[in-house]
C-alpha cells in the first residue's frame, strides 16, 4: 500500500503532463485511504475518498478544463530533460530535508514514547473489532463541539468567498 502511494506520488511529481498528474493523484489518494484503513481508521478513509476524490479532484479537473486549452500546447512544445538544471536547487533542498527528517524519525523512536506505552498498558489502543464511527460521532458532538462549529463557520465563509470570487463581473 505504501509503495502504491509513494510510487504514484513520485509519478505525480515528475510527469510533465498535467492530466496524467491529476489522474495519478487519484491513485495516491486511494493508496492513502488504504493506509488509513490499515491504521484502523475506516471512517476517515471513507471521508478521504468522498471529499478528496469526489470533491477536490473534480474541482481540479474543472479548473484544468476551464484554463488548460493553451497549456496543453505549451506542455507539448517544451520537452525538457528528466531533471533540468532549473530544478536543481529544489531537488537539493528537498533531498537535504528528506535526510534531516528521516534522521529525526529514526532517532526519535516513536514506538517507545511514554504515552504510547501507557495507552498500550491501559488497553486504550484501537482494536479491529471496535466500532470507531459511533465513537467518533459521540466525541464530535460532545468533546470536540467547539472546533466542529468553528470548522463549519470556516467552511461556509470559504464557500461564500469562492462563489464570490468566481462570479461574473457585472461592471468594471
Amino acid at each position: 500500500m505504501a509503495f502504491i502511494t509513494l510510487g504514484s506520488a513520485v509519478f505525480v511529481a515528475v510527469t510533465k503532463n498535467l492530466v496524467r498528474s491529476i489522474f495519478m493523484f487519484f491513485i495516491t489518494l486511494f493508496g492513502l485511504a488504504g493506509l488509513y484503513i490499515v491504521c484502523l481508521a475506516d471512517f476517515v478513509a471513507i471521508t478521504q475518498i468522498v471529499i478528496y476524490i469526489g470533491g477536490i479532484l473534480v474541482l481540479m479537473l474543472f479548473a484544468f478544463m476551464l484554463s488548460g486549452r493553451d497549456n496543453l500546447n505549451n506542455f507539448l512544445a517544451q520537452r525538457k530533460p528528466f531533471i533540468s538544471v532549473k530544478n536543481l536547487p529544489a531537488v537539493i533542498l528537498v533531498l537535504l530535508f528528506l535526510v534531516v527528517m528521516l534522521n529525526m524519525v529514526v532517532s526519535v523512536d516513536a514506538d517507545n514514547f511514554d504515552w504510547i506505552k501507557k495507552s498500550i498498558a491501559n488497553k486504550n489502543t484501537l482494536l479491529p473489532t471496535e466500532n470507531t464511527t459511533e465513537n467518533i460521532g459521540v466525541n464530535l458532538m460532545t468533546k470536540y463541539l467547539l472546533p466542529f462549529e468553528a470548522i463549519s463557520v470556516l467552511l461556509m465563509v470559504a464557500l461564500v468567498g469562492a462563489a464570490h470570487l468566481s462570479r461574473k463581473e457585472k461592471k468594471v
Partner: protein
C-alpha cells in the same frame, strides 16, 4: 503489527514529494496538488498516532477537520486561479508579475 516509524517514514517521503512539487512546478494547479500532498502527509501522521487513543479519537477527529480545511482551501484557491487565468491568460506563477489596476 506495523510500527509507527514506518508510517512516519512514508509520511516524510510524501511531504518531501509535495515540497518538491511546490518548489519546482510551473503550473498553479500542480503547486496546489503539492500542497494537498503535504496536507495528506500530516493527516497520515495524525491517523497513525490516533490508533493509540481509542477513548477520545483525537487523531481521527482532527484528521477530519484537516480534510475539511483542505477542501475549503482548494475551493478558494481554484477560484483565485480561474480569476488569474482570466486576467493574465496563464497560470504560471513565475509569469504573473504585473499588479492589476
Amino acid at each position: 503489527m506495523i510500527s509507527l516509524t514506518n508510517y512516519l517514514i512514508v509520511s516524510v517521503a510524501l511531504f518531501c514529494i509535495g515540497m518538491y512539487m511546490v518548489l519546482s512546478k510551473h503550473n498553479a494547479i500542480q503547486i496546489l496538488i503539492g500542497i494537498e500532498l503535504m496536507l495528506n502527509a500530516a493527516n497520515l501522521n495524525l491517523v497513525a498516532f490516533g490508533k493509540y487513543d481509542s477513548a477520545n479519537n483525537a487523531g481521527q477527529i482532527f484528521t477530519l477537520f484537516t480534510i475539511v480545511m483542505a477542501a475549503a482551501t482548494t475551493a478558494v484557491a481554484l477560484a483565485i486561479i480561474l480569476n488569474v487565468y482570466k486576467q493574465y491568460k496563464t497560470i504560471d506563477p513565475d509569469k504573473i508579475d504585473k499588479l492589476g489596476d
